[in-house]
Symmetry: C2
Subunit: 290 residues, 2 copies
């Protein structure tokens, strides 16, 4: 897996190379957040699902990179003063602290656009075919958009400082977190030319590990340390944000993590290939401490 992550980093570096004077600041700002050593959870899932559906890593790489670009943009815009106003990210100053708000805004816009440029690049057309690339990019757009990730952010703002129902929390976490993981997993299957039934199963796995991931994140915001997580903690409480933890307490929230993880594992039954990695991955996310 270390080798796989190195290959993802190398591809990201290739899709967003350093540039000269005129464009230097915006590409530097894009690269600062994109190449900042994330866990590459989403990219790894794209590659794994492609492999599981009989495809190659090469076929899935542009889509794996595209989903990481969407993730990176969302973190940059999230951290801006008008949103979470967070000045730390992965143990380093957040994008706007280094490049200023204006370049951070543009770097986010640039990465969001680059995601589609990458998923619809000559390379993507060559390795996966134009039709699969179009379908993968279409799924990415739907999952990232106003009824996907952007919608989740909107629900987050709408319900700030409010106690909300579990239903609304579910919609928020699905939007903010699960949707992009869904895009990652589905695009892997699509890149391999998998039938709809498998794409749907990947979606189902992703939805549930996504929800589990977000709830685990909420738990770590209470129980974790800034050093270990590489970001400020206690942000949810500070922003009076209603989470599964604030609604149910830590213990019941962890029970939900485990329930969702089990549902995700069940979704893998339909695949005939080796799902050990994806099973372990789900279990690891459910119990991660950073």
């Amino acid at each position: 897996m270390e080798n796989q992550i190195a290959r993802i980093e190398s591809a990201l570096n290739r899709f967003v190379p350093e540039t000269n004077e005129l464009y230097k600041t915006v590409t530097d700002a894009m690269r600062y957040s994109l190449l900042n050593g994330g866990k590459r959870v989403r990219a790894v899932l794209t590659l794994e699902f492609c492999k599981l559906c009989g495809g190659t890593e090469e076929m899935a790489m542009p889509f794996a990179c595209a989903v990481e670009m969407i993730h990176a943009y969302s973190l940059i815009h999230d951290d801006l003063p008008c949103m979470d106003n967070d000045d730390m990210r992965r143990g380093k100053p957040s994008n706007h602290k280094v490049f200023g708000e204006n370049y951070a805004l543009l770097a986010g816009d640039g990465l969001l656009t680059k995601a589609f440029e990458t998923a619809l690049s000559a390379e993507a057309f060559r390795v996966a075919g134009v039709e699969r690339a179009a379908k993968a990019a279409s799924v990415l757009a739907a999952c990232a958009g106003e009824f996907g990730m952007v919608g989740g952010q909107c629900i987050d703002l709408e319900t700030e400082n409010q106690a909300v129902s579990l239903d609304v929390l579910y919609a928020k976490d699905t939007g903010k977190t699960a949707n992009l993981i869904m895009a990652a997993c589905m695009m892997g299957c699509i890149a391999a030319g998998a039938e709809d039934k498998l794409v749907e199963a990947a979606r189902n796995y992703a939805l549930h590990i996504g929800l589990a991931f977000q709830i685990r994140d909420d738990i770590l915001d209470v129980t974790g340390t800034a050093e270990e997580l590489g970001k400020n903690i206690g942000i949810d409480a500070q922003n009076n944000r209603c989470t599964y933890v604030s609604l149910l307490g830590i213990e019941k929230a962890q029970q939900m993590v485990d329930t969702y993880t089990n549902t995700a594992l069940e979704a893998l039954a339909v695949f005939s290939g080796d799902t050990v990695f994806l099973r372990d991955f789900a279990l690891q996310l459910a119990n991660r401490t950073k």
Copy 2:
């Protein structure tokens, strides 16, 4: 042309409909800027080039709408306090003045994403085919990204308060303004399945009317009135922005508008269809007063 604009408005309205509580604010904010009665210059060009290459309006409509979505997002993010800090747009309060900075940011992100969702929608796949949709969306991404429109914004920031060369000004205006018009014209041809030579001619026409459009815009920022233009004037001077007007004066700047317009007209020679509309359009842009 009035009917055509009405059909564009109707399609935009269909692609970004009103929604219920959870997503209401973000879709309202997206619709506020998207349906705010722009001149639809870009969408009209997409439809016209598609027609000129033997396609139908229906074939080009998703791409016409996509380019308007990119344009609308760029205006929202441009107006934000960390960018131009402009509180008027088309005679109405700018997006963040109505919805707040956070929703304006998300509405911009939502529209940028929606552009690709629309260009890669089931409707786009049906009317133009998956392959043409993929190629059109790929062009849109390249023209909107960090070496296109976002890049132009970056050059703008880099060179703020600086006297720059005509070359840099050319790169900035190409990025900020011409690129999206290029995407509009090229996507129209691609939707119709035109050969590369025609797509390239459309690109050339677009580049030069784009440059002419931007220089005319700079002239109007000095000579126009806020009432007529529906936005604040004198912004360039206020921001010490170097433009063709500040470098060459109004008269020579208008000469460049006319030169670029002629180059654009020459690019149309390769089309066998009726180019009267596109010729008039270019001439009208070159002499517009609002």
